[in-house]
């Protein structure tokens, strides 16, 4: 009795852990730090493929058919080669058109057909039922197996409902699914919690399989070879080592079915397509997932043989060997672990399947039907999101109950693998419609309806009905003699086709009718509606840049449309979504028709494409006369090709990014520049392509352009193999008609060469200027060499003059002129005899006259030297006074250069402050008094004021070291 409670307690505790993982993942997602955004988690979540069928059923199958069980895993491995070419396309289509279910996908591809969406949904529900029963059966058997321990005989399930553990398990699973799968409405139908929980349980079931495998091989036997040796000794057992006759056909059939199932089972579609976060994860999953399959199957054969050897007399169901082997050796903890692995495999499968199916039932079946028959008054009722959730929650419960009923009273007697294969065959019926649909534009709505319903009918007849007959709900003669004794209609030998196993037989007929009907009707009856045409083009050409062709009239009120969306999605998200429009589709709302298309897509994300079309049609009229879709398509394609040709043949790099920085459009030059293909770049950001520092800068510039609102020019650098390149980028925001920016266009020209020559030019210019300055300094020295007392005088005058010029706000060029002029303002003194220059007494008048000639002489020396500044004039006029009392020409006020006026004042101040042969230094204060006294008489008042300011506010002092 204690053991029973331990089993139940541990089972519930484990389900609690799964709740915890899911809850944690959702919290992380809400905080913006998703834990599922990586290829490993993605691959593990795909491993929801491995259900209890894999976990328990594989061993059971291996005991009777040897290697055959493996075909179910070889199929997906082969298919994984095609994931990158095919699955990526499906994912892209679904993301572009907001498709969240298989029914939505097929219906949307074939002209948003309501008939198809209903057909696929019903088919999925019926087709998946045996599979759900299988999980419940496996859990129930494993629980009973544990509870009956140490009795090794597999018991029959208990008769009374409330004492059947499987019933409670089904209820708990329904609760789990509702909490994490149908609690709120997400426009993308993402369920991070479920994905994380599935990834977690995938890990658990893998570890448990490996653990029991290692235990059997090395605990119960002496390695794998030991098991095979012992098996060889048992008579007839070695037939399991080989294949022959019909085995090959069955092997190929199962390989094919599983290759289809891995992509088109509703739960696989949910995990691989809808929950896909990043297309690049597909690439990694293409080998990680097969590796997972490889590992989980590694020990199946040894376990199977070990089971046969250990329980030779039957009585123990081979489907429970995984559990019975450790139990029979009294390894209770290991058995418990194995049981948990199986429990979680079942929980994950049921949760994901019922989410996928309930979304389908609500979006693709109930809502569109209610709308069509007016049960739902879209225009009256306020908020529908609650209804949608309720529909889903009820669906989940119904699915689980149906699965339970099916397991208890219909297919409970079948083996796990048989039940699974029937569901696989159902999923394979979707394959032709989807695979042809994304590569061939010719497939039409009518063809799809014919093919699918035909396939569905044959599947029901050859696979499902015989099930009922086997479990006693139909007379067994139905199988053996055909309905009403018509032997040509025997479900396992339809039209007298004998020699096939039931599976190959059913798959052959159903797919023959399916593919044949689809192709023939598609070829005979072409697209009836323009929607059919457009959808076919949009799906097949999904990797071409998006084209817009609206099939809606634009005489409607936008507010009606918004109100409609609010009813389904709530007010707050709709506001956000309308503003997101530009970001998601990088288009401008040029016509109202585009907006309707967009609204329809958004709605499709939540309630499915068929419902969305009906809902939108309630506020907007469909265009009655549509431009011939072919010509419209062609003209758009033509203008696109023209634009592309222009863009690709320019030597500038052109990019268009959305406001989030994802590349939308690029030209060939840019793709050459970063050495990546167009496809690789589109959808990425700078951070995926460039080092972080560069990307930061680019982003910064983009933001600036967006804030400015008009084109800005920036220089951006990028590393090429041949070194750093500089680009002159013109960036400007692009607006939609409501003046909301939706992207940043950048046109970048490689100006590396220009930069280089500019740099060289600047360098040689600097060198020349330096040479010129050096020359002038040398001349100044030459003058000063003769006149000891004036040594450094010119330099100090230059220093003060520059300070004054700067204080007065002269231009840099003028200041440079002032400096040069001041540096050699006394150059004329070279002409004076040294005695006069160094005479320690007052000069005679004649001598003074001679001294006065130095400005004239200076001018003569300099006048023919071509300099960029009026240096000769400055030297010439530096003793002129504004009242005309100066020399040599007695110029007045406006005839004197401002530069000369400055040098004049600086000269006087420096001369008076410094020591002179004929008098000792008078000091700065005296000098300042002198210029203040003659301010406006000799000296320009502005210059004097500037000079006084410099000294009074102690901004300026002569640099002492120049006195040396």
């Amino acid at each position: 009795m204690l053991w029973k409670y331990v089993v139940i307690l541990v089972a519930f505790a484990y389900l609690g852990v799964m709740f915890g993982v899911a809850y944690y993942a959702e919290k992380r997602a809400a905080a913006g730090r998703s834990i599922i955004n990586n290829p490993w988690v993605y691959s593990l979540s795909i491993a929801v493929y491995c259900t209890t069928w894999t976990y328990y059923g594989s061993v059971g199958r291996a005991t009777t058919s040897g290697l055959e069980f493996l075909a179910v895993y070889i199929g997906p491995t082969l298919m994984a080669f095609l994931w990158w070419p095919v699955l990526k396309k499906i994912v892209r289509i679904c993301k572009t058109h907001r498709i969240t279910t298989i029914a939505g996908f097929i219906s949307s591809r074939y002209g948003k057909s309501l008939t198809l969406s209903i057909l696929v949904t019903v088919f999925s529900v019926v087709g998946i039922m045996p599979y759900i029963s299988l999980q419940l059966k496996a859990v129930s058997t494993s629980i009973n197996g544990l509870l009956q321990h140490p009795e090794m005989i597999t018991p029959a399930p208990s008769i009374v409902l409330w004492s059947d553990t499987a019933f409670y398990v089904a209820l708990i699973m329904a609760a789990f699914t509702i909490i994490f799968g149908a609690r709120n409405l997400d426009t993308f139908e993402r369920h991070e919690g479920i994905v994380a929980a599935v990834a977690f349980e995938s890990l658990v079931k893998l570890l448990a399989s490996l653990a029991v495998g290692i235990f059997v091989v090395y605990g119960l036997h002496n390695g794998i070879l030991d098991i095979f040796d012992k098996a060889r000794a048992v008579p007839h057992l070695d037939t399991l080592f080989t294949m022959d006759g019909n085995d090959y056909l069955r092997w190929s059939t199962i390989t094919f079915l599983s290759a289809m199932a891995i992509m088109f089972l509703p739960r696989q579609f949910q995990m691989m397509v809808v929950e896909n976060v990043n297309e690049n994860h597909i690439k990694q999953a293409a080998w990680i997932f097969p590796l997972y399959l490889f590992a989980i199957n590694l020990f199946v054969l040894p376990i199977a043989f070990s089971g046969i050897l250990r329980f030779p007399f039957g009585g123990v169901n081979p489907d429970t060997f995984v559990l019975s082997l450790p139990l029979s050796a009294h390894y209770h903890v290991l058995a418990m672990f194995v049981f948990l692995g199986g429990l979680s495999a079942a929980t994950a499968m049921i949760a994901v399947t019922s989410i996928a199916i309930s979304t389908m039932v609500s979006n693709d079946l109930i809502l569109p039907l209610m709308m069509r028959f007016g049960v739902l008054r879209i225009n009256r009722q306020k908020d529908f999101s609650g209804h949608i959730l309720k529909i889903r929650q009820i669906t989940i419960i119904i699915i689980l109950l149906l699965g339970y009923i099916n397991f208890r009273w219909i297919s409970g007697s079948l083996t796990l693998v048989t039940m699974g294969l029937i569901s696989f065959a159902a999923a394979a019926q979707f394959a032709p419609l989807i695979l042809c649909g994304i590569f061939w534009k010719g497939g039409t709505r009518l063809g799809a309806i014919t093919g699918l319903s035909g396939g569905f009918a044959v599947w029901t007849y050859t696979m499902l009905l015989p099930l009922f007959s086997q479990s006693g709900w139909l007379p067994i003669s139905f199988i053996e003699e055909g309905p009403f004794g018509i032997s040509i209609l025997r479900p396992y030998q339809l039209f007298g086709l004998e020699g096939f196993g039931w599976l190959e037989h059913g798959v052959f007929w159903s797919l023959l009718v399916n593919i044949g009907g689809y192709l023939i009707v598609s070829l005979v009856a072409e697209h009836r509606s323009s929607t059919g045409h457009i959808q076919a083009e949009l799906f097949v050409d999904v990797f071409r840049p998006e084209r817009r062709t609206s099939s809606w009239q634009d005489n409607f009120a936008i507010s009606d449309l918004q109100k409609l969306l609010c009813r389904f999605l709530g007010d707050e998200p709709v506001e956000r979504i309308f503003s997101l429009y530009s970001r998601a589709f990088a288009g401008s709302i040029e016509e109202k028709g585009d907006l309707v298309d967009y609204a329809e897509k958004i709605l499709a994300g939540s309630i499915g494409s068929a419902s969305a079309r009906l809902a939108v049609a309630s506020v907007v009229q469909q265009a009655t006369v549509i431009k011939d879709p072919i010509t419209a398509e062609e003209s758009i394609r033509e203008s696109e090709a023209r634009l592309q040709a222009i863009m690709d043949n320019t030597s500038t790099a052109i990019t268009l990014k959305d406001t989030q920085g994802h590349f939308i459009l690029i030209n060939r030059k840019f793709s050459e520049m970063v050495d990546m293909s167009n496809e690789e770049i589109v959808g990425k950001t700078d951070y995926d392509i460039f080092p972080e520092k560069l990307a930061d800068k680019y982003r910064e510039n983009d933001r600036k352009a967006q804030q400015e609102g008009f084109p800005i020019q920036v220089e951006e650098t990028i590393h090429h193999p041949d070194g750093r390149h500089t680009y002159l980028a013109i960036k400007f925001p692009l607006y939609d008609t409501s003046r909301t920016p939706y992207g940043i266009c950048s046109i970048a020209t490689d100006i590396t060469e220009r930069k280089r020559s500019e740099f060289d030019l600047q360098k040689s210019h600097d060198r020349l200027k330096q040479a010129l300055e050096d020359t002038i300094t040398a001349i100044a020295r030459a003058v000063e060499a003769r006149d000891l007392y004036v040594a450094g005088h010119q330099r100090r005058v230059a220093q003060l003059a520059v300070a004054i010029a700067r204080e007065m706000g002269l231009s840099d060029d003028q200041i440079e002129g002032v400096r040069m002029g001041a540096m050699i303002h006394d150059i004329g003194k070279i002409h004076l005899p040294a005695e006069i220059l160094n005479k320690p007494a007052r000069l005679l008048d004649t001598e003074f006259a001679l001294v006065k000639s130095h400005s004239e002489v200076g001018y003569e020396i300099l006048k023919d030297v071509t300099l960029p500044w009026p240096v000769a004039q400055i030297v010439h006029q530096h003793h002129e006074h504004i009242d005309g009392s100066g020399y040599p020409h007695g110029l007045q006020e406006n005839d004197i250069l401002i530069e000369s006026k400055i040098v004049c004042v600086a000269d006087v101040v420096e001369a008076m402050a410094g020591h002179r042969p004929y008098r000792p230094a008078k000091g700065i204060q005296k000098a300042l008094k002198e210029i203040e006294k003659h301010k406006g008489i000799y000296y320009d008042p502005k210059v004097v004021e500037a000079c006084l300011r410099l000294f009074n506010e102690k901004i300026f002092t002569f640099e002492e070291k120049l006195h040396s």
Binding site: L70, T242, T255, D675
Partner: protein, 77 residues
Amino acid sequence: MDSEKQKNSRLIIFFFIGVILLNYPILSLFSDNERNVFGIPLLYAFVFTTWALLIFITALTVRYTGNKTSQHTDKAQ
């Protein structure tokens, strides 16, 4: 674009090679009770080895075919 096409065509070729290797009649060549590989039945050994090889090839193809991109970003950094 070209590297992408190259990757896709390689994957498709490997897909067909895998389909042929793991089906009749190739399988029947290994379905032989008399022979075994180190004690493991020949058919089992063949299927598991081929399977492992296929996975290995997929990994190599998605990782290294035409993947100039990753090398480029490495260089840039």
